[in-house]
Amino acid sequence: MTEKINIKAIDILLVEDNPGDVRLTREALKEGKVLNSLHVVGDGIEALEFLRHEGEYATAAHPDIILLDLNLPRMDGRELLAKIKTDPKLRRIPVVILTTSKAEEDIIKTYDLHANCYITKPVDLDQFITVVKSVEEFWFTIVKLPPDRK
């Protein structure tokens, strides 16, 4: 099978407050075959600033995809999801929920809010890495992500 060579790195916004999970995600993404650039924010308010190019994020990259934890300080991930998916400029960005929650309520609610998919973070480290790589495989090599258009 031919390897894909991506000239443009995929910009990923990771919204995650747990430093351990941030590190693991970063490691897993580095090991993959698709060139990517990982941007990390620790809460929902910072995420919005990043996405809206406000303050220190005035020249931030436009993410091709967002990995979103649900339980975040300052602004809950569910609220952030709602804001992203009702914003005419941001709603097209795929949002992958990556959370410890298995609650049916969370699953239904986030799909209703138009999360693109919902994944429960495995507790096991190896499985966590496998899952992140699966996300990469599916979203970066199989799916066509929305082209960047201002």
Binding site: M1, K85, P88, R91, R92, I93, P94, K102, E104, I107, I108, Y111, D112, H114, N116, C117, Y118, I119, T120, V131, S134, V135, E137, F138, W139, I142, V143, K144, P146, P147, R149
Partner: protein, 155 residues
């Protein structure tokens, strides 16, 4: 995952693509139940459990072509994602169109993912298997109790 079969609705009018998709899905280990409709109107009737689809199960996932007779795939997508009862069902666009306009428009309409059908058969198989692998064993989907008609078990 629930004990019940994973139900996939394929909305596709091209017979060869239907056949290929069926074969590609069947080649995996995970059990699934595939339903096929060939046009946009039937897709909506199936999802709303209207005649002649009164007994139809609720899909866990929809694979949706864009260029369909009777009702265009873009219109079907819009109706699904604006319907309070249907919008939580993941819809993966599976189309030959690579047009940026289509990609943007369908993501704006809340398509869960957009995939261009590979021309190469081996690649096509690979893509279908990846979809299955990802959505059936990695992703969490809403569980649902009611399969079938309105008179079936409800809370």
């Amino acid at each position: 995952m629930a004990n019940t079969e994973f139900v996939i609705l394929l909305v596709e009018d091209n017979s060869a693509d239907v056949r290929l998709t069926q074969e590609a899905l069947a080649s995996g280990k995970i059990r699934h139940e595939l339903h096929v409709v060939r046009n946009g109107e039937d897709a909506i009737s199936f999802l709303r459990q209207q005649v002649p689809y009164i007994e139809s199960p609720r899909p866990d996932m929809i694979l949706l072509d864009l260029n369909l007779p009777r009702k265009d795939g873009r219109e079907v997508l819009k109706e699904i994602k604006e319907d309070h009862n249907l919008k939580s069902i993941p819809v993966i666009i599976l189309t030959s169109s690579e047009a940026e306009e289509d990609i943007l428009k369908t993501y704006d309409l809340h398509a869960n993912g957009y995939i261009v059908k590979p021309v190469d058969i081996d690649q096509f198989f690979r893509v279908i298997r990846e979809i299955k692998e990802f959505w059936m064993s990695i992703v969490m989907l809403p569980a649902h109790e009611s399969k079938g008609s309105l008179s079936s078990d409800r809370d």
